[in-house]
């Protein structure tokens, strides 16, 4: 009886446990000019988790998350996305990239395409959706990010906040397993930061796995499951928002917090 119970319990915890989506182990990267930007960084992100990545400017945050979809090659260590290794110069990296959505600081919308086409081009060309299906899905996404009425406009006609919300919809249209955000609100005027964070927040609530580089403390406190801290290419903290902000241990982190919390 007891043995049966343990067996059942064992099984249920095994199925309840969230599978890892990103597994990065001892990732090391040196830029062409000899700059050692990542010095053996490890990170595991489980399905449905929201991880916020913080660190001083130049600490390697962008470089690190860009290794997750192969935008930055690395020299040592390993990275797997949902079990598929991302390695340098390997054919088929495009297939993994479809599963990893990315939102950039500068939005990087395609200026020659309408908002709607920015969103449908990936699903039509890469996922084989019909134009009608892709457009319907795109309109639903635009509805979610609150700009369905701008679908026929060009990116240049939208505000920064609207452009970034389109960029989020564009990434989501590929139905990725994980979303990467690289300082998505840093290029925005202050009054537009919130509309983008609200979209990210509801995305997190919907269960999306997310890695966000951001210095938005409110967002990190309320939305993040974990906060990790990168400095000079080393990951020196990986903890809960509460521990991170209220009980920081590392000197470097304390200094950083004193700067961003004024």
């Amino acid at each position: 009886m007891t043995s049966l119970q343990t067996e059942l319990n064992g099984k249920s915890t095994a199925t309840l446990e969230k599978p890892p989506i990103i597994v990065a182990k001892n990732v090391e990267k040196t830029y062409g000019n000899g700059f050692h930007v990542l010095k053996g960084v490890s990170l595991t992100v489980n399905k449905g988790e929201v991880v916020v990545l913080m660190g001083p400017s130049g600490s390697g945050k962008s470089t690190f998350i860009r290794t997750f979809n192969g935008l930055e090659p690395y020299q040592k260590g390993s990275i797997e996305i949902d079990g598929t290794p991302i390695s340098n110069g390997k054919k088929g990296i495009e297939l993994v990239r479809r599963e990893v959505g990315m939102v950039f600081q500068q939005f990087n919308l395609f200026p020659h395409l309408t908002v709607l086409k920015n969103i449908t081009i990936g699903p039509i060309k890469l996922r084989g959706l019909s134009k009608a299906d892709a457009e319907q899905a795109a309109m639903e996404l635009l509805e979610k990010v609150g700009i369905a009425h701008q679908a026929k406009k060009y990116p240049g006609q939208l505000s920064g906040g609207q452009q970034q919300r389109v960029a989020i919809a564009r990434a989501l249209a590929m139905k990725p397993k994980v979303m990467l955000f690289d300082e998505p609100t840093s290029a925005l005027d202050p009054e537009m930061v919130r509309e983008v964070l609200d979209v990210m927040r509801s995305l997190a609530e919907s269960g999306m796995t997310m890695v966000c580089v951001t210095h938005e403390v409110g967002f990190a406190r309320e939305v993040a499951d974990r906060i990790i801290f990168l400095t000079e290419g080393n990951l020196i903290a990986d903890t809960t928002p509460d521990q991170f902000f209220n009980n920081p241990k590392e000197e470097r982190l304390k200094t950083f917090l004193s700067q961003i919390l004024h």
């Binding site: 495009e94 479809r98 990315m102 950039f104 990087n108 395609f110 020659h112 990936g122 890469l126 990434a171």
Partner: protein, 216 residues
């Protein structure tokens, strides 16, 4: 008699204009095709391809078109023993010349598209050629129109150099007629008007195209 000379002159110039147009079209099409290849090689991550196209561009941009015409016309027959007709020699030289300039213009236009566009396309999952075809080239084309058409106007005028290897296009025809009739001002004035009539529409067309392709 005077009127007869004028109409004869005009007809001869028009006939010769046909060859100026044909030679220009050959240079546009040949130069465009080779130029596209040169531009793609130049932006390739393959160092060898990039070097070769760099050398090609530097050579044909760094030497006079006249010399290139001589090389094609005289040099080719010295090396191979085959005599090229003036038309073929002029076509080869103008194609090489045009392709080097267009290749460089187009390389510049492609590289003027922000790197973030490549990265965003790549992050969606597009491979290199899809990134180029769907995202980069449509933006580069808009940047390339004005300098491309500007250069094509140079090519039309450049075809006049083919007269030196004996190809009878508009300039050479004008010069030949002048030798007979000695009405320099009239003949060269007419030839100038014809060149202008060929080039001017190109410039206005390029401005319209630029407006039409502007975003919004």
């Amino acid at each position: 008699m005077d009127e007869f000379t004028l109409s004869r002159t005009f007809i001869n110039l028009i006939i010769a204009t046909k060859w100026t147009i044909i030679l220009s079209l050959i240079a546009f099409v040949g130069g465009g095709l080779v130029g596209a290849l040169i531009a793609l090689m130049r932006i390739s991550s393959n160092k060898l391809l990039s070097r070769i196209s760099w050398l090609y561009i530097e050579f044909f941009q760094g030497t006079p078109l006249l010399l290139q015409l001589f090389l094609a016309f005289f040099g080719f027959s010295v090396v191979t023993g085959i005599n090229l007709s003036p038309l073929v020699a002029a076509a080869i030289a103008l194609t090489a010349y045009t392709s080097a300039f267009l290749g460089d213009i187009w390389r510049g236009s492609i590289q003027a598209v922000p790197r973030g566009q490549w990265q965003a396309a790549s992050a969606i999952g597009f491979g290199y050629f899809d990134q180029l075809r769907l995202i980069i080239l449509p933006q580069a084309v808009r940047l390339a129109i004005a300098p491309t058409v500007g250069f094509l106007v140079q090519v039309i005028k450049g075809t006049s150099l083919a007269s030196i290897i004996g190809f009878t296009e508009l300039s050479r025809a004008a010069s030949l007629i002048n030798n007979v009739t000695l009405q320099s001002l009239l003949i060269f004035g007419l030839a100038g008007l014809i060149y202008f009539a060929l080039c001017y529409p190109l410039s206005t067309w390029s401005q319209q195209l630029e407006k039409k392709l502007a975003y919004k």
